[in-house]
Amino acid sequence: MAQERELLSALVLELRRGTLILSVLSQLKDLEYGYSLVQKLNQKGVAIDPSTLYPLLRRLEKQGLLCSRWDTSETKPRKYYQRTEFGDTVYASLKQQWGQMTKTMEELLWEDK
């Protein structure tokens, strides 16, 4: 039984992992800093913790999808991220792809009703 539960968890994790980047990108039209993004995503039902998101934001910046800047004006220095133009283009394409995929999946999963 434990093995079955483990397998299920692993498969769910795979599913979640596939959508993580898209969900992160979707929230970065405007400037956001790491923790606010964590809270926003959690509120909207995307399970993510800071130790995953912060490195992910760095990676996306490295790939050119995001740009960042430090705000040292407050007592707490914060790193703000936002989509680049390239990020916007990629996000738009991904969104389109997602639309097509969900349509296909809906048909596949609910055709028997």
Binding site: G34, S51, Y54, K76
Partner: protein, 327 residues
């Protein structure tokens, strides 16, 4: 104060595992992360509880790192295995050959020659390490392996179906190869092995070589040439793996060359050791046989055997190639 101390120690542990250039910024990020989590958790929050949530520094550092956690990637693995196999084979065989050759060079040093085989494990290990290191470097330098075919694969390139009888056993050819090489080694480094060993009454050993050692510098190259030609035949068989037109053609040509060379060696140059024959004639008790114990007779006999053997081999190869080789 305690909490601050914990936080600094935690951050230190994470960033020390990261590349130098990124350390300062990631440390700042981690500080932001931890402080945000602290304020978000409210009254009950302590640095310890936040750090517990974040998990061991090692794990967090892993998430920040994007370097490869392997030596050779799947992309390079096939080439790596292929090169490894060849290199290990070569190293292994050379160590063994070297020991064998040294043994034949001086049979009294048999123990020393056997000791050479002890180099085998360390030699193989060193070769393994060298090839692995080479591929680790190649991969990091993004060296691309070009595909060997100029055109992309398509089904017409598939080799024909193998009939069991058409297959040339790989182990047979390898054995043949090994024998040829060993025989050549022997002829080159220890031709005196091919001698008559006589113990006199006083337990003294005299050796009468079978071959004419005075003309050995002419005989040896010719024999070696013949052996090398035979080697080509074996290699072709090894590479194609089955009886076919190419194998038949190569077999015919090599056999023909070998017969011609044998003719030259046996009939056209001094080959036998005259001493050998005088000894034989002395020892021969049957008078009727005496006229047959001559160099010429022996040469003819050997040549006859060679021609017979060659014809037999050629015949079998031809039969198999023509019968099973064409689809």
């Amino acid at each position: 104060m305690d909490g601050q101390h914990y936080m600094e120690r935690y951050i230190q542990e994470v960033v020390r595992r990261l590349p130098k250039g990124q350390r300062a910024e990631i440390a700042l990020e981690l500080q932001e992360m931890i402080q945000e989590m602290l304020s978000a958790d409210g009254e009950e929050a302590t640095v310890e509880s936040v750090l517990l949530k974040l998990g061991p520094p090692k794990e967090l550092a892993k998430k920040y790192r994007d370097d490869r956690r392997y030596l050779v990637s799947p992309e390079y693995f096939d080439n790596y295995l292929w090169v490894l196999r060849i290199v290990l084979l070569c190293v292994g065989l050379s160590v063994i050959f070297s020991a064998v050759v040294n043994f034949f060079l001086d049979p009294k040093q048999a123990k020393e020659a056997a000791m050479e085989l002890l180099y085998l494990p360390s030699g193989l290990l060193a070769a393994f390490g060298a090839v692995t290191l080479l591929f680790v470097i190649l991969e990091r330098l993004h060296v691309k392996f070009e595909p060997s075919q100029s055109s992309p694969w398509n089904p017409s390139q598939l080799p024909p179906l193998l009939q069991k009888k058409a297959v040339i056993s790989r182990s047979d050819t390898v054995v043949g190869l090994v024998f040829i090489v060993l025989f050549c080694m022997l002829l080159t480094f220890a031709p005196q092995v091919f001698s008559l060993y006589l113990f006199s009454d006083s337990k003294e050993l005299t050796m009468i070589p079978v071959f004419d050692m005075e003309h050995w510098n002419v005989i040896l190259p010719l024999i070696l040439a013949s052996m090398m030609i035979g080697l080509v035949d074996e290699v072709v068989k090894l590479v194609t793996g089955r009886y076919c037109g190419a194998v038949l053609a190569v077999n015919a040509v090599t056999n023909l060359c070998q017969v011609m060379l044998s003719f030259v060696v046996l009939k056209m140059i001094p080959f036998w050791n005259p001493e050998f024959f005088s000894w034989l004639r002395k020892k021969c008790d049957i008078p009727d046989l005496l006229p047959y114990i001559t160099e010429e007779a022996f040469s003819n006999l050997f040549l006859g055997l060679i021609v017979f053997g060659t014809a037999l081999e050629l015949g079998t190869t031809a039969y198999k190639s023509l019968r099973y080789g064409k689809n």
